[in-house]
Subunit: 442 residues, 2 copies
């Protein structure tokens, strides 16, 4: 198998045993990038020389018998709103076109300490809102990869790197992961520290990441958190889980492809022994999207207020509208939204008391045609507001050969258990599809 | 010595050894209350029957050899914004005149579990803002005891109970403690959980308490927190501390009595071996009172918005003005204030790097004459915004025989160390004064 196709787990074993060096793995990925990047546009900045030098150092370490753990020598992508010391960080905005941070974001520093090789910075929508990046979906170049972590999702999906950092404020990890047929994770809010990540809305922002399987996600989370007290990998074997299925709002707002695929996936879990029961959402849910919007607009306005006054024309239409509307929100409205979020969390705890996880589709549609919209975060925003950990696992493809994602919501700080459930579901779905090779594409 | 004069530490030892029963201690305090309450008006509601029954149960437990720890059989007062199951809780407002909660606040429940005897509910300003309670200062009935925790401070100062719960959003624990010549403490924000306390401004609210010595404070904090990992009592013996003295704003705004007393107290600490160095406040400090006000107004408006629309005339002038102004604050202004608070904390960390604690006077004035104003929280509000733990220790009296408080600011979660510093200072000050007996008063 070509090295670029390896999961982190497999690459890690080969590196540890000396059958593959970090430099060889990097070369395979860089060849892949050279081949695919012109059509996918997943990267803003590549640091090929820096990555090669790091990979050589890590190769020498291994030869001396030193291993930093499962991420030793693993190349990674970093969304372009994470500070990277000495490496341009644009936020997807002309305002930061030439900005070079002097320090690393906390999560980037953790990646480096764990032996990861930073290949470069991946495309993001403008300041991680909704004004699209140029990136295309590896499954079909006419379709969006989703956003805001567009480049990270496309890069992992297409075999340019086995994992990449993203962020989620509405649905910016789970939706692109689902659109690109890979695993996405947004852990409990602040479990991965946000220091050095440009904020969009600090009450809602989460650091998350992409991988191609659940085992890899557990390894990555271990490297990104303090983790003294928790080992996420190997994932505990689990009895068939008890899953709380949500209909109502989700069924009403999902397109036919998505809901049929979700029902089919759920049926396959049932057949494999999972107990799936319908649960009802708390009464606060019907106001949760409005609350999310008010918090997002208010905090984004607070973040951008100064830049906005001086350089309004450097903002694109979505963020410009959000900041302008956010500046008009009264504090009492903002605080009502925050308090509603608190009540939602309390009620959610009660709803989840008798199940392991909640399940809903990862997005209302598969990846949309065209690059004008990165899709709708409505199926993800409630969990960004609640701060609960979420994963998406690919569960099937549509007739048009676009992947579908299965969203699993865990309990606060219940990552260990969420991994168990996600791995169990992944085993049942046995999703083996990958995007077609570019040579096969139209 | 009459039992009502005992510290918690002394009463506790006598109870443990069988020389004093919880019922006897309670009787001494109830006699004291009967004698002083008509002139002090410290209590909204007394639960004499309930307290007697609890004291009897706790007396039986001790006779059977069961002790719940240092608070076993200790009578306490509870500010009337803490929920007390089955006991009226008015918030100092006609809106809640007849409100009887069905559950205890977390801190009240912890007191009960620790064997404390709830005597009753103490007077508070309206909803813990600034519209005064009828309570008078035990040192001089013509003067305010301070607020908002007016009744708790007066009750502990006058020997009606050895400790009482209060809250602080601006300066509502430290200021009345200082005005009444006792020890007051506001630990790190949320170290004592706020569940069941009526909010004034949830980003600023702290649960705190009053005692007559630092040792007692350490015992009380132990009972009110989870404390599995921390034992506050006995307090660690300390080398002479390094203290960071703040001038500037504080010297400019302190009246002559206060600043002279503070300089004298500081000099006595120096003479005893403390290293006192002047430190400068961070640049954000000059905006900190404005930020505090914006947060307080916005959040109070959010808390009271609904009641306010229906019952505006049931609000007194201070809170009415605060809510009305808070409803006009834009979210961007509120969020700017919150973010300023964050920067202040970061800068404060740097300022405190080379000292154990900061020191400033506990209030700009001694207890003011008249009951119209409870005094100015300006010397306390910055630490309520920062969430840092603070104690006040009485350090002297003015020519008019009004006590002066010495405010000590510790580091976040540095309570153990703060107790050490406060006890060291208390030892140097040797403040032995107590309010004159009512018979001696004019």
């Amino acid at each position: 198998m070509a090295a670029y196709k390896l999961t982190i787990g497999d690459a890690s074993r080969l590196i540890a045993s000396g059958e593959l060096t970090p430099s060889e793995l990097l070369k395979s990925l860089l060849d892949r990038i050279e081949r695919l990047e012109p059509s996918l546009e997943a990267w803003v900045t590549l640091d090929i020389e820096g990555a090669r030098a790091t990979a050589e150092d890590l190769t020498s370490e291994i030869e001396k018998g030193v291993s930093r753990g499962p991420l030793h020598g693993i190349p990674v992508g970093v969304k372009d709103i994470f500070y990277t010391a000495g490496l341009k960080t644009t936020m997807g905005s002309p305002i930061y076109r030439d900005f070079i941070p002097s320090r690393d974001a906390v999560s980037v520093a953790r990646f480096r300490d764990a032996g990861a090789v930073i290949i470069g910075k991946t495309e993001t929508t403008e300041f991680a809102l909704a004004d699209p990046a140029p990136t295309r979906n590896p499954w079909n170049l006419e379709h969006t990869p989703g956003g805001s972590s567009s480049g990270s999702a496309a890069a992992v999906s297409s075999g340019m790197c086995p994992t990449a950092l993203g962020t989620q404020t509405g649905g910016s990890v789970i939706r692109p992961a689902s659109f690109c047929g890979i695993v996405g994770m947004k852990p409990t809010r602040d479990l991965i520290r946000r220091g050095g990540v440009y904020p969009l809305s600090w009450s809602l922002d989460h650091v998350g990441f992409f991988t191609r399987c659940v085992d890899d996600a557990a390894m990555v989370l271990g490297a990104l958190t303090d983790g003294d007290h928790l080992d996420y990998h190997p994932i505990d074997r689990l009895e068939p889980p008890r899953l709380g299925m949500l209909r109502g709002y989700f069924q009403e707002n999902a397109d036919e492809n998505v809901w049929d695929g979700f029902e089919a996936a759920t049926m396959s879990l049932r057949d494999a022994g999972a107990r799936v029961e319908e649960v009802s959402l708390p009464s606060t849910f019907k106001l949760i999207h409005a609350a999310h919007r008010v918090i997002l607009a208010s905090e984004a306005a607070s973040v951008h207020e100064e830049n906005f006054k001086e350089r309004m024309t450097d903002y694109r239409v979505n963020l410009r509208g959000l900041v302008a509307s956010g500046l008009l929100v009264p504090a009492s409205e903002y605080l009502r939204a925050r308090r509603l979020g608190g009540r939602f969390v309390e009620e959610l705890e009660a709803v989840m008391r008798d199940v392991d996880c909640l399940i809903v589709p990862s997005a209302p549609t598969p990846a949309l045609r065209g690059l004008e919209s990165t899709g709708d975060p409505a199926f993800n925003a409630p969990w960004s507001l609640s701060g609960y950990p979420v994963m998406t696992v690919p569960s099937g493809i549509t007739e048009d050969e676009l992947p579908l994602g299965f969203q699993i919501i865990g309990k606060l700080h219940g990552e260990k258990h969420l991994f168990g459930v996600a791995k169990w579901c992944e085993g049942v779905f046995s999703f083996e599809n990958a995007p077609r090779e570019p040579s096969e594409m139209a």
